[in-house]
Symmetry: C2
Subunit: 151 residues, 2 copies
């Protein structure tokens, strides 16, 4: 469905405006579907994201600032996000010995197990949307988004 129909615009919109709206709307659709997957696990999108970052470290602990830097939404409050994960025993938090200002966050086995359980569902989610395009089109879309967001 065209973005004009979705927002029921009577005027014709510039292609620039349409693109911004499309980026917003598409992200919204994708993230709502994603939230549905995480809901039963009582996990928010950002919490999932942090767990994934931690797993990416292959067992090595990760500082708060490294997590922050790798999150997609830079404005998030990493401390509170990690607090939530701690409460669920999905991660551990310890003071770093070399630099006591830093905190070392490590994903627990429980966290790894949760991610392992989610993996197929997440792949499914990605596939749900990706299947609408050919491999070539997906590569194109990635390239266009990358160019578009450059400031």
């Amino acid at each position: 469905m065209k973005i004009e129909e979705i927002i029921k615009s009577t005027k014709t919109l510039s292609v620039a405006k349409r693109t911004v709206l499309n980026v917003f709307y598409t992200q919204n659709i994708v993230s709502e579907k994603f939230a549905e997957i995480l809901k039963p696990y009582d996990l928010s999108g950002e919490q999932y994201n942090v767990l994934r970052i931690l797993r990416g470290q292959n067992g090595n602990p990760t500082n708060m600032c490294v997590i922050q830097e790798r999150m997609l939404a830079k404005t998030s409050n990493t401390t509170r996000l990690v607090d939530k994960l701690l409460l669920k025993n999905l991660v551990t938090r310890e003071v770093c010995a070399e630099n006591r200002r830093k905190m070392e966050i490590t994903i627990t086995q429980k966290g790894l197990d949760l991610l392992a359980e989610l993996d197929p569902k997440v792949e499914n989610h990605e596939h749900l949307f990706a299947q609408n395009l050919s491999q070539d089109e997906l590569e194109q879309l990635n390239n266009l988004l990358e160019k578009f967001r450059t400031i």
Copy 2:
């Protein structure tokens, strides 16, 4: 910058996963820049969106459910959003005569003036990103996003 570099992924990601990440990340960049524009006017992105919907009605009042339906993020609490706009005298709210369950929301002159002041800045914002692509590429991006999000 490629999405793998941004999230500093060591593994290679499927094109499906890359696309989802790119959609998320791009929306984030665009909306952060947009928030900067609105900040001095003490307006959130969603509040701006509601004002724009109301202006689109050309002076005709609009029900809450119509507003809700046209918002990009369906989960927002429309009542609260409109409350905020009321407090700033950007809209009015009256009981609908035909169906007294409904509320008629109308944008005020002050609201219209605010939008008029924002218009060039918003266009500027859209242009900031759109200028990275040719007209053809923009159309392509719109088409690909539209296809991609189809469920």
